[in-house]
């Protein structure tokens, strides 16, 4: 019994330390985060997440986007993220305080998406990219997400968010390709990825 209690006691203490330090401590310290209100402009940072984007987290998670895309910008001293213009400053804990799911990621087979909503503001661009990534880069390793879209017959006016496609991708005559609700949610989420506001704890590095 002596040995057993020594082993189990030791494991509990040593393992418990890491549990407290890496799981409980960040949980408690980040729970106290408050949004930043600019004293002059009264602007709130980070801004609230638009309702349309809320469903997009689930689509992003379900389809393993994190397998290839990261979502954090490292400090200049830690890597080339800022030089690559993936963000003007490093990301800090407050950037994510309103996210109910966070996808930091460990792979950059595709570009970082921390600020993809700053780089691209057009939903149509995202729809076309998801539908056929080769339209933008013939050598891409990103697969097509055609199943996020559906073909439908045009009745009256063409749908507003119908994809502008040509050549091999073009739909049959009298038909159009429109995003499903999942695609709309995903793109709303991607458009909301904008960490371009200022936070005092993360000033943009001086050139």
């Amino acid at each position: 019994m002596n040995r057993l209690s020594k082993i189990i006691g030791g494991v509990f203490v040593l393992f418990g330390l890491s549990w407290w330090g890496l799981a409980v401590y960040p949980y408690l310290s980040f729970a106290a985060l408050k949004e930043n209100v600019d004293p002059n402009t009264k602007e709130v940072a980070p801004p609230d997440i638009p309702g349309a984007a809320q469903q997009g987290y689930r689509v992003y998670a379900a389809n393993g986007c994190v397998s290839c895309h990261s979502q954090f910008v490292r400090d200049k001293s830690e890597g080339g993220d800022i030089d690559r213009e993936w963000g003007k400053r490093r990301t800090v804990a407050r950037d994510y305080m309103k996210d109910n799911q966070v996808f930091l990621g460990v792979s950059r087979m595709g570009p970082d998406l921390t600020n993809v909503g700053v780089r691209q503001k057009d939903a149509q661009w995202f729809y076309r990219y998801l539908y056929d990534p080769r339209l933008f880069n013939p050598d891409t390793t990103m697969p097509s997400y055609r199943w996020l879209f559906q073909e439908q017959a045009i009745t009256g006016q063409p749908a507003q968010n119908a994809l502008k496609l040509e050549g091999a991708d073009a739909p049959r005559a009298g038909h159009e390709i429109v995003p499903t609700a999942e695609a709309e949610a995903l793109v709303a989420y991607l458009l909301s990825l904008k960490r371009d506001y200022a936070l005092p704890e993360a000033p943009a590095p001086q050139e």
Binding site: L17, A62, C65, E78, G79, R146
Partner: protein, 486 residues
């Protein structure tokens, strides 16, 4: 922790949990399940490798949601860890703990129950993630309705392990018992804690990422590591008929892994918006972890010294010792690549994938196969006949491992330097590593073949001639009959 002369157990192991034992069923269930999930995992992995190589090949189905890369690859990795490595490791652990406890209490229904629930959890997990229910968190993709059964099975196994240890005959304990006990307790705690925080309480913000990557460190360093190390520490002395070289080194490796293991995970996401001291502590832990790992590798080497000849004829030993040595290499490589100056280049690249693969395919897989080759004939009372098949399996495993790790590491270094240089456009970085994806695909084929060979050997034992437990001849795959084991 004392390390008594384990040769005395040689005779015991020949009969323990053999024909007619209550534990025969559960151990077989865990082995068979592990190998089944290995086949599924490797098939999906291979598919994902083809998909990432050419996203417009006929193996990519843009209209079929559940076959897209972002769902297939995570399922393959999860099955490799929670299906193959965990289940075959647990099967071996049941055998080891039972034979070491020398205890009439076996509670065979508990491991059997755990095995069934574990399989159910994996089935729900595959169904859930392919069906679009993934949590989107690496190594924790299984939705809560799949994670919960797996956790329940872990709890049952932890209770069984502790009960068996308490009721053991004699006051002594072996180092492998300590490792296995730790593995079961830590895994149940870590898996329950991570899924509880993330899946049940739905913690948001970067606190979720801290918990997530803390868990990854525990999964590797406090579940798979002690499981594999415990297996090696048990079987190697047994197979060469000599005790472990040093009890002191064994103790250092044990307490070192327990002390540093839990801190290792955060180093995967250095530069993330987490407390700076968390990240520093994690880098330090990864470097310090070299001490227990080298203590283990040195101990293994010194135990084997003079008996290395046995590696050639005894294939079970060959798998186990090679796996143990790969673990030593993986530990050193892990420490080097975690250093901030190296990490800033290799982070986010295929080199970090290779680092995890070296551990999983090199260390854990080889050790689990070695253990199966030792245990299975004793379990079913039949000897190995087709040793050639196992020999080919060994070499295919090594070729697969080498191809995978070298290819991805070189690709990762190129990718890393490319990403560091803002003058290189992102698309050019992808072009740079495209040729290496061909090697990745090839490695995937090798891994598939070696998995098939392993499963094939597993099945052949059931048609082999019966083996009498009291005969002088050992039943594990031995090429040269003249070399005696004990």
């Amino acid at each position: 922790m004392s390390v008594p002369n384990q040769t005395a157990d040689l005779q015991l192991n020949r009969v323990a949990a053999g024909n007619g034992s209550v534990l025969r069923g559960p151990i077989l269930l865990f082995f068979a399940s592990g190998l089944f999930w290995l086949l599924i995992a490797v098939a999906l992995w291979l598919l994902s490798a083809f998909q990432v190589m050419d996203p417009f090949s006929p193996l990519v189905f843009p209209d079929v949601a559940w076959l897209t890369y972002g769902r297939v690859y995570p399922v393959a990795m999860d099955l490799l860890v929670y299906g193959w490595a965990s289940m075959s490791g647990v099967g071996t652990a049941i055998w080891i703990l039972n034979s070491m406890a020398k205890n009439p209490f076996t509670g065979g229904y508990l491991p059997l129950l755990a095995g069934i629930i574990w399989n159910l959890g994996l089935f729900f997990g595959v169904w859930g993630v392919l069906g679009g229910g993934s949590t989107g968190k690496e190594w924790l993709e299984f939705p809560i309705y799949a994670a919960f059964p797996i956790w329940l099975a872990e709890i049952i196994m932890a209770i069984w392990t502790v009960a068996l240890f308490i009721g053991r005959r004699g006051k002594g304990g072996y180092i492998s018992q300590a490792f296995l006990l730790t593995a079961f307790i830590a895994f149940a705690w870590a898996y329950g804690s991570a899924n509880g925080f993330l899946g049940f309480f739905k913690v948001g913000g970067v606190a979720a990422s801290a918990i997530h990557w803390w868990y990854f460190g525990c999964l590797i360093s406090l579940w798979l590591t002690p499981l594999g190390v415990g297996i090696v520490y048990h079987f190697v002395p047994l197979l060469i008929g000599r005790p472990l070289y040093s009890a002191k080194l064994a103790t250092i490796s044990f307490w070192g892994i327990v002390a540093f293991g839990g801190w290792t995970g955060i180093a995967q996401i250095l530069g993330a918006p987490l407390p700076a001291w968390n990240q520093t502590a994690s880098v330090v832990a990864n470097v310090l972890l070299v001490v227990p790992i080298l203590a283990f590798a040195t101990n293994l080497h010194l135990t084997m010294k003079g008996s290395f000849d046995l590696i050639k004829p005894n294939l079970a030993l060959r798998f186990l010792v090679t796996g143990g040595m790969v673990f030593g290499l993986a530990g050193i490589w892990n420490a080097i690549t975690t250093l901030r100056s190296v990490n800033r280049i290799l982070q986010f690249t295929w080199a970090t994938t290779a680092r995890t693969d070296l551990f999983l395919i090199g260390f854990v897989s080889l050790v689990c196969f070695g253990a199966i080759y030792y245990v299975l004939p004793r379990l079913v009372g039949r000897s190995w006949k087709y040793t050639k098949l196992i020999q080919i399996h060994f070499w295919f495993s090594i070729i697969a491992l080498g191809t995978l790790v070298f290819d991805l590491t070189i690709a990762g270094v190129l990718q890393g330097f490319g990403l560091m240089d803002p003058k290189v456009p992102f698309a050019a970085v992808v072009d740079l590593i495209k040729p290496f994806l061909l090697g990745y695909e090839l490695a995937g084929v090798f891994i598939g073949v070696s998995a098939l060979l392993g499963v094939g050997s597993f099945l052949t034992v059931f048609v082999n001639p019966a083996w009498a437990p009291d005969s002088e001849e050992a039943p594990e795959p031995v090429i040269n009959e003249e070399v005696s084991l004990a």
